[in-house]
């Protein structure tokens, strides 16, 4: 605790007006992601065609004019209108009580621990509770959002780690050794900055079959996005390594006979760490958006797996949004996550970057 109170950087970060809310939002999102199986009332592919595009369930406290402290929902029943479109109305005769820790489908938390109870839901198994509505095949949008976060929120961290490794490796070597190696490596690096990233992304994606399993697509997306993203980072690290390598402590290390590898990893790269942390945080949104964009246009995560991007692809048809506006909600989650990372990154920059303060 003492460390947090006295550390100047931590104080500065906490003093940033937006960083703390950003951190809170991220905390909530990642908490939901970690306990997805417990928090989601239904499985990500648990659909029922009868409930196609069922609107979000309305939460009530009054039944027949009587107040009940325990909220409840009415099941929706549908009829077809003159255009053979489904119109949903609440069936007021059957209140279904909403409660915490209800028994539902048995799932395995993290694929290991079997659990039966979910955070919330309705006990009546014959009808369903849709917090944010249902999609075209009657799957619970909220549950899919929760499971989708497993993809959308991890891809940033994994992608950034690969990028950091490449950037440190190539930038460090280039900056420390200089000369011909530097020239060749930097011209090579620039190649990846020469084609607009979306075009490069599509070109690389085209090298693989369109139909892949979700895990293959996930790895592929990470690989593609890191390959696109590392160049800018490597160039900055190279610039920093170049100026650090002229400092006295590097000369001293060299005089003591330290190897190039040792100097780069133990003396030069740690000096770039605060820049790297800020830059990594601020580039996570690019990975989230990259995954969303690829999945949105159908080249990313495939049905029935859920990611925020492929859920949003349902909204590509405008008339569908008109009748079921809740299918836009995954976009709000993408926006929230991106904004939270930007806020936290901004706060970190103010706290860590001596040039800016």
């Amino acid at each position: 605790m003492k460390f947090f109170k006295e550390n100047r950087e931590v104080q500065k970060f906490l003093g940033h007006p937006l960083a703390v809310p950003g951190l809170v939002v991220l905390g909530i999102l990642y908490f939901i992601m970690i306990f997805a199986e417990f928090i989601a009332p239904y499985g990500f592919d648990n659909g029922s065609r009868e409930n196609s595009y069922q609107p979000p369930s309305r939460i009530h406290f009054f039944h027949d004019g009587k107040f009940s402290l325990q909220p409840f929902v009415y099941p929706w029943s549908f009829s077809f209108n003159e255009f053979y479109e489904r119109t949903y109305i609440e069936d007021k005769s059957r209140p279904c009580k909403l409660s915490l820790f209800v028994k539902g489908d048995e799932v395995k938390l993290w694929g290991i621990i079997p659990i039966k109870r979910h955070l919330f839901g309705i006990e009546d198994r014959s009808s369903r509770f849709y917090l944010l509505g249902a999609d075209s095949v009657g799957r619970d949008l909220f549950s899919r959002l929760v499971y989708g976060s497993r993809i959308s929120l991890t891809i940033g961290f994994i992608g950034v780690s690969v990028t950091a490794f490449l950037g440190f490796f190539i930038g460090g070597i280039s900056g420390y050794y200089g000369g011909k190696a530097d020239w060749v490596l930097m011209r090579f690096t620039e190649c990846f900055m020469l084609v607009p990233s979306f075009f490069l992304m599509l070109a690389l994606r085209s090298a693989f079959p369109m139909r892949l399993s979700s895990i293959q697509v996930y790895i592929l997306i990470v690989a593609i996005l890191s390959l696109i993203g590392w160049a800018g980072f490597a160039r900055v690290i190279r610039g920093m390594a170049l100026s650090i390598s002229k400092r006295d402590f590097v000369t001293a290390a060299r005089a003591l006979g330290a190897s190039g590898f040792r100097i780069i990893t133990f003396h030069i790269l740690p000096q770039t760490l605060s820049y790297a942390i800020v830059s990594m945080t601020l580039s996570i949104p690019a990975y989230i958006l990259g995954e969303s964009a690829l999945s949105l246009i159908g080249l990313g995560i495939q049905e029935p797996s859920a990611s925020w991007g492929n859920m949003l692809s349902a909204a590509m048809n405008v008339s569908d949004i008109q009748y079921h506006p809740w299918i836009l909600i995954p976009g709000i989650f993408i926006f929230l996550a991106v904004m939270a990372f930007n806020f936290v990154g901004d706060g970190l920059r103010d706290a860590l970057d001596p040039n800016k303060s």
Partner: protein, 327 residues
């Protein structure tokens, strides 16, 4: 300085070629056969398939294939699009202008709006106007373009009973009845179709540029020459527009090349969403049908546009900044 510009542009050409080589190798890894469509078509004889195969050297090793592709590319022949059954150059040329139009208009609008707003925010730092602008640019920076596009499409579609909104089309580049319109009708139709994509792209680029131009302007206003200018009794508008602004703009021009890259990427994705017949939507179709030459051609064109954009930024910087000129 002219030599420097030429040298930089020339360096990027081999880099682009190296990139095309890497992509070519990658795409070759893809399973499937571009000629499968022809092979299984009973109307096409196996001799014809053989002929196409030997014309594009599909029967040779990949490096030889690339060599031939490169040789033709240097003669402005990017091969044949097997999915569209037309030469790649003509398929791309048609789309290139559309993407170009979208990008240019976005750049003009972004600069015309963002830079004045940035200057205003810097001059009136911490005023309510500045705070509101900061707030919006914070949100605008995080708002994904594709999501904004979907929201706007929904709003326009939902509000189509309002005459103003119903005039804005939510997709495509021309109306189905375009051919029947009069000359002025055609122009109005095209402009109307531009509104949605240009607004989305402008909002996407606006926030970042506004923040940066505000930051640059603030930095300049803090410098001593500004104090000197004020002390010698120069009117405030001259201090701001004559002295500070000129110096604050230069870093923005350098940034232009980088912004252009993200603009092209954003435009490509948006084209797919709003059904705009540009390079981005073309490339997606090419990727889906595994049309190698079209993918390569589109990527190369994207790269060329970026190089051209960077070159223009360099030239503008030379015009704007006498210090760069004398180097």
């Amino acid at each position: 300085m002219r030599d420097e510009l030429i040298r930089r542009a020339l360096v990027s050409v081999p880099q682009l070629l190296l990139m095309s080589f890497i992509t070519f190798m990658f795409i070759d890894l893809a399973p499937g056969d571009i000629l499968a469509k022809y092979r299984f078509d009973p109307r096409i004889s196996s001799e014809t398939v053989k002929m196409i195969e030997s014309k594009y050297h599909f029967d040779k090793p990949i490096v030889v294939q690339y060599g031939h592709w490169l040789w033709r590319a240097l003669h402005f022949d990017l091969g044949y699009s097997f999915s569209r059954e037309a030469p790649v150059v003509s398929v791309i040329a048609e789309r290139l202008f559309n993407t170009f139009l979208l990008s240019i208009l976005t750049i003009i609008f972004t600069w015309a709006v963002a830079v004045p707003l940035g200057i205003y925010a810097a001059v009136k730092q911490y005023s309510w106007g500045d705070r509101i602008l900061s707030f919006f640019s914070y949100f605008g920076m995080s708002l994904p373009g594709f999501f904004l596009a979907l929201i706007l499409m929904y709003l326009i579609y939902a509000g189509r009973s309002i005459p103003m909104l119903s005039a804005i089309p939510i997709g495509g580049m021309i109306s189905p009845n375009y051919e029947d319109l009069s000359f002025w009708g055609k122009i109005v139709d095209r402009v109307a179709h531009l509104i949605l994509p240009v607004i989305v792209l402008t909002i996407g680029a606006l926030a970042g540029l506004q923040r940066i131009s505000r930051g640059n302007m603030l930095e300049e206003l803090r410098k001593q020459y500004i104090t000197t200018a004020r002390a010698k009794g120069l009117p405030e508008h001259k201090v701001i527009y004559g002295h500070a602004l000129r110096n604050a703009i230069n870093p923005l021009i350098t940034l232009f090349g980088f912004e252009f890259s993200s603009l092209l990427s954003g435009a490509a994705l948006l084209e797919i969403i709003v059904n705009w017949p540009g390079l981005g939507s073309l490339m997606l179709a090419a990727v889906r049908s595994q049309d190698t030459f079209l993918v390569m051609g589109s990527m190369l064109m994207g790269g060329m546009m970026l190089i051209a954009g960077n070159l223009i930024a360099d030239i503008l910087l030379v015009i704007a900044d006498p210090r760069v000129r004398s180097r």
